[in-house]
């Protein structure tokens, strides 16, 4: 049985992958595409928080919201001007996949040019460690866990209690029927993309103090949340949450047990799940 520190470490990873995967699945269920740039929105969010805290002096919790708004708006722009046009008639899935992948290079390069390639840190935000005797946990990691709980509850309320949330769920289930009942699918797509990117940005922002902020920080969360979705099942919100938790804990525990080959185990696991159960653990079976 791994010690408590490993489980805490896994839990923090789970929180981030869960938040990222949730946004990605939300986008997938409405737009029908995987947003491969999700990790770069995470990175941009972290940069916004960094500059909001260090340069503008905005308090950390508020700057998380600021980064959510700014990067969410950026995500909406991407949806409006790129994704929407590339999912129109005559375009295949390849076009939009390639475009979001190209945006990975674009955003990483642009962030490198604008903010520099050096790592930046926010270690002064929430410094300190809570020592519980058997284990210890930094306040930054506690913040990550609390943040994820708040986000998940907020998303639950938004999706179940608000008008726009109901429209989103209706569109996810039956896009054609939803448009018949007066739901503007274009608007819903835009809002969902905004929410997804804002979630990624805030996840990046909350991880900023835990890790360092650099233009390439989004790559691992991106791949991991992608795997989380695949495990959980494409298009299933529950699946994204469960997949994120499984992956985060598993990653940590496997790394504790067998060290540097842990990634291979994860990838083999994903391949096995896809082959045995192509729809994922929680995905709806087709045909």
């Amino acid at each position: 049985m791994p010690p408590a520190g490993i489980w805490i470490d896994g839990l923090v990873q789970s929180c981030i992958y869960m938040t990222m995967a949730f946004g990605m699945v939300l986008v997938f269920s409405i737009l029908g595409i995987l947003n491969w740039t999700h990790g770069q929105f995470y990175m941009l969010g972290a940069f916004v928080v960094y500059y909001a805290v260090t340069a503008a002096g905005i308090p950390f919790p508020l700057s998380l919201l600021v980064s959510g708004v700014i990067v969410g708006a950026l995500g909406m722009l991407v949806e409006k001007f790129i994704i929407e046009r590339l999912t129109g008639p005559g375009y295949g899935l390849l076009a939009v996949t390639a475009a979001t992948m190209a945006l990975i290079f674009f955003f990483e390069g642009a962030a490198g040019m604008a903010f520099g390639l050096m790592a930046k840190g926010m270690a002064t935000t929430l410094p300190g460690v809570l020592d519980m005797g058997v284990f210890s946990i930094s306040y930054q990691k506690i913040a990550v866990i609390i943040f994820t709980l708040i986000v998940m509850v907020a998303m639950y309320i938004v999706l179940n209690r608000t008008k726009i949330g109901k429209a989103i769920r209706a569109t996810a289930q039956q896009p054609d029927a939803a448009s018949l009942y007066g739901v503007n699918v274009g608007w819903v797509s835009l809002i969902v993309m905004g929410i997804g990117c804002a979630l990624a940005a805030m996840a990046g922002g909350i991880m900023g103090p835990v890790q360092s902020v650099d233009p390439f920080m989004g790559r691992i969360p991106m791949i991991m949340s992608l795997l989380a979705i695949v495990i959980g099942g494409l298009g299933s919100l529950t699946g994204a949450i469960v997949g994120g938790i499984i992956l985060g804990l598993l990653n940590s525990v496997i790394a504790y047990k067998i060290s540097y080959l842990s990634e291979v185990v994860l990838f083999v696991l994903v391949i096995a799940i896809l082959l045995i159960r192509p729809q994922g653990l929680f995905g709806a079976a087709s045909k």
């Binding site: 995987l34 790129i82 046009r85 590339l86 008639p89 005559g90 375009y91 295949g92 899935l93 390849l94 076009a95 996949t97 390639a98 475009a99 992948m101 190209a102 945006l103 990975i104 290079f105 674009f106 955003f107 990483e108 390069g109 642009a110 490198g112 040019m113 390639l117 233009p215 791949i223 992608l226 795997l227 695949v230 494409l234 540097y260 080959l261 990634e263 291979v264 990838f267 083999v268 994903v270 391949i271 896809l274 082959l275 192509p278």
Partner: protein
């Protein structure tokens, strides 16, 4: 539907005269310049073009593989390891083996992973590429880990009094690249033209109908994946010979994505033309930009070019279609000008 337009009359887009002129011009490039920079840009572009052709062939069956760089890695490792253990005189045998083994692995992998099509397939190929990379990194006995294996240039070939020496200049590398590209281009072009090419496209265009017309979807997907594996393996083996080393960091996920980007920019509707145009444009551009004193500008431009090509060229058909349109406008009379795709456009607009 996976890509925009699948059917373009090849003859009307790139006439044989132009192909001949281009090949002739490329063949005499070393007479004008033996500049290492120019030649190596052309050599690298050509090798990537071979890999891109493989990607487009798999695309023809409606799947996008994001692990093509892994097959380059396999080809590269096979040739490097065999040459290391057998001796340099077996270079060409190792080179052949690289394609064969890469193809065999593609066949085995294809049998397993092509059952999951679409997005799952893309993700599995990503995972496969990462596994290849991590295994190469950790299997020290065979791959020397991250240190990589030094790949020596092929031994000199003597034809009469004339010696082709790969270690003295890039010109033999250049001509062998032309040979490799022409050979694989001919193969892919012929495959795409004949019956099996039509079958591949039918699998992408309408799998259900194709299956009901007697096409075993899995079989043709695996065939395409295997063919791509063979040639991508050759490309990988030649690439590592050219840059003289193979290590696990050369062929990572981002190289697979790069292959895909080259296909998009060049235009996936033409298997040979699209691949060559795409790889040449993107590789030369990237190479030029990375020498500028502005760090990272190459990534920005790279990403922007792909998005702009997708947005502003009709239906994501890439540069090759632009060239085709220009060619038809200039050289063909209106009444001859009848290609299937045009009508489809008229209907939609």
């Amino acid at each position: 539907m996976i890509i925009g337009r699948l059917y373009i009359d090849q003859k009307s887009v790139v006439p044989k005269v132009v192909i001949g002129v281009v090949i002739a011009l490329l063949a005499i490039v070393p007479l004008f310049t033996t500049s290492m920079v120019t030649l190596s840009t052309l050599i690298s572009s050509g090798i990537w073009a071979v890999a891109v052709m493989g990607f487009i062939l798999i695309l023809r069956t409606g799947q996008f593989s994001m692990g093509q760089a892994a097959f380059m890695a396999i080809g590269g490792y096979v040739s490097a390891i065999l040459t290391l253990n057998l001796g340099l005189s077996y270079y060409w045998l190792s080179f052949l083996a690289s394609g064969v083994i890469s193809g065999l692995i593609a066949f085995a992998i294809g049998l397993i992973v092509l059952r999951a099509g679409g997005t799952s397939f893309s993700i599995i190929t990503i995972a496969f590429g990462e596994i290849v990379r991590i295994v190469a990194l950790n299997w020290e006995d065979l791959t020397h880990g991250a240190a990589g294996i030094l790949v020596k240039p092929p031994p000199p070939i003597n034809i009469g009094n004339f010696e082709i020496n790969f270690s003295l200049s890039l010109v033999p590398f250049y001509y062998f690249m032309i040979l490799l590209v022409v050979a694989s281009a001919l193969f892919y072009w012929q495959i795409d033209r004949i019956r099996i090419g039509g079958t591949f496209r039918s699998v992408a265009a309408n799998p259900v109908l194709a299956e009901h017309l007697g096409v075993h979807l899995m079989k043709y997907r695996v065939i395409a994946f295997t063919i791509a594996g063979v040639f991508t393996g050759f490309a990988g083996a030649y690439y590592v010979t050219f840059i003289s080393v193979i290590n696990p960091l050369i062929f990572d996920l981002w190289k697979s994505i790069q292959i895909m980007m080259m296909a998009i920019v060049g235009g996936p509707s033409l298997i040979v033309g699209g691949a060559i145009i795409g790889s040449t444009v993107l590789y030369s551009l990237g190479n030029y930009l990375s020498q500028l004193p502005v760090p990272n500008v190459q990534y920005v431009v790279f990403g922007a070019v792909v998005v702009l090509v997708l947005l502003f060229l009709p239906k994501g058909t890439g540069l090759v279609d632009l060239w085709g349109k220009f060619w038809r406008k200039v050289f063909r009379e209106p009444e001859e000008y009848e290609i299937p795709g045009e009508f489809a456009d008229d209907e939609e607009e």
